[in-house]
Amino acid sequence: MSESPTELGSMDPSIPATIIRERPAVAPAPAEGGAPPGSGDLTDELLTSDQWTDAMLQAAGIPVADVPLVSIGGGIGSFVTVDYLRIAGTPTSKIAVLSNLDFPWQTYEYLTRVSQIPRPERIRSDSASRPDNIWGFPSYAVTEAFQEGKWGELWHVFAEPMWADFYTPKAGRVFAGLERESKRIGWDQMLVKGQVRMVRKRQGGGYFVILTPKAGQTPTKRVAYRAEYVHLAVGYPGLRYLKELQDFRTENKDYYHVVSAYEEHEHIYEAARTKPITVMLRGGGIVASRVLQRLMDDREKHHLQTQIVHVFRTFIDADHSPNEQNLRAWNKRKGANGFAYQGFNYPKSVWGGQLKSEMRKLEGQDRATRYKEMGGTNTPWRRSWQAQMNQGRRDGWYQIMQGTVDEMMIDGDGKIVSVVKSKSQPGPVAIAADYIIDCTGLEADIAEHRVLKDLLDHSGVGRNPTGRLDVERTFELRGTASGPGVIYASGATTLGGYFPGVDTFLGLQVAAQEIADDLARRRFCKKIGTFRSISQWMKWARNKQP
């Protein structure tokens, strides 16, 4: 694992503003041995060179395909960007999407499903954040009202957030919309299945992207794409567990009683239906709320005796100003019973208003500080959840506490005992539970993703003040230009840049718009002005190809 800073503000102050250079002075020795020339695989020369020539690939025997723009990832980040480019007049022949996913929402649907948002449930996203519609018009609420005759949803968006919780769309509606739009823009014509191995600069301009197709599908192990523009949307680099939970899992080889909420863990809900159990939750974000809701719903529905112990590392018990000593009226977030409350994962105006405009101007430490002042784990305040939690606290089956865990062990009854150190208790408290669900959703360092690690080592890109990939306001990866070629990135890997809400539907659209506008300036596609926007919206409405 990389030792690079991943926490806000943890960088060395002597290092210049926004960049933490990860790149060593000399090229690192290849971690893997190169293949012999002519084998169709990566040779030593390719593995170690920052810049490749056409001849080097020819010598390696790797076939090369020319596509002007390659998007790597193939999830919702790729989808939203490609959607923009298609609407900006780019034909499918000029785009290749390299991905191991069959359809763009595959990973998203998996993660939402296991973290307790199946298709009929509502995700945490705004009505006008539509990844299948670059205009956000009509919004999900309006569509739901008209299609399903649910006129109450119009009142919902009218009265939110004061007299109604924020409207949020059902996961199933989002996926159905994505399916329709992916057919409309010809997604399958652009999709190439395989695992992307690396992106390297090409001598003479542009880049090579190396793809490893499924074994046996191509004559060579690798194929290369020669592209002028590369778009990177690989999503979260990986999941990290709380250290003590990971240690416990490894030492006891127990991946059953201690799980991450992002893993399949249906067996816990099933166990709760067969006998009274105690479940410990760790974390205070949206996933904790969802898992808690499932436990509470099941308890009510099946008349269960489930006990829930909820441990928060940062326990919020009142209105607060995140990471500040004193409460500031201008920067005050609601909080209670352990949770910090916020409609979406950032204050709403980062997606278009005051905070977006403010952050766009900030550099280095100022930006890192501002991120801290609006950051911290949070979850929405929803009326139904409040009622359930209040009931649980009243009846004693839902306990909340501040604490961290240093030690975990198995007791005589086979229960997992966590020794919790809490600020509110003089000494450590031992809490036994049948199951522990890690809902903290910690993310791994970007260097744990193979393609990103390769970029950090070979492309010249640096890290931003929060340790992720350093992007310009246009989402160009700073320091990676290759002749006229540009690498863009969107999504979670760019968190910490001039725009905060990157890993959200609307954030991906903000990035896609900046990328499409930049590509229009470079004459790759057309600029979406008023007339194109209206005519393309009409096509969207009639489900006609862009």
Binding site: G136, F137, A159, K348, W351, G352, G353, Q354, S357, Q513
Partner: protein, 148 residues
């Protein structure tokens, strides 16, 4: 909406002039203005009222921006955009009532005519900025309501 101060003012001036102008042009002939009011007088009156809503509204935008600072999200809920019709309408009505709007004589606009005019213009503008505007300018919503 997620406005910046600059975006608020631009949206107010440009969209209220266009959307408000279209609505005003359509409804003026049917407003219950005093008998004997010519069509040109009627249009002059309603367009002056629209101009007053825009000009006085710039002051309101500063106040709204100030109020928004107390909101953690720094947002301006859809409902706020709707309900501010009341305070703004009352102020314009008072200005009319006391004859403080240049070009309109004191008492020249009956309250009913004013309410119909003001409410229709406001609702059309409010509906527009909360929906179709996003199709006419795809950058508007991401840049705090700025148009230039």
């Amino acid at each position: 909406m997620l406005p910046t101060l600059g975006g608020r003012i631009q949206t107010r001036i440009i969209l209220l002039a266009i959307i408000g102008g279209i609505v005003t042009a359509i409804i003026t002939p049917v407003l219950p203005l005093p008998a004997g009011t010519t069509m040109s007088q009627a249009y002059k009156t309603t367009f002056i009222i629209l101009a007053a809503v825009i000009v006085v509204g710039i002051v309101w935008e500063f106040i709204y921006h100030f109020i928004m600072q107390w909101r953690w999200e720094k947002d301006w809920p859809t409902f706020f955009g709707f309900i501010t019709m009341i305070n703004e309408g009352v102020v314009i009505w008072l200005l009319l009532h006391f004859g403080l709007i240049p070009g309109i004589a004191k008492g020249a606009v009956p309250t009913t005519a004013f309410v119909i005019d003001f409410v229709l213009v406001w609702i059309a503008f409010w509906l527009w900025v909360n929906g179709p505007m996003r199709v006419f300018n795809i950058r508007w919503r991401f840049f705090g309501g700025r148009l230039v």
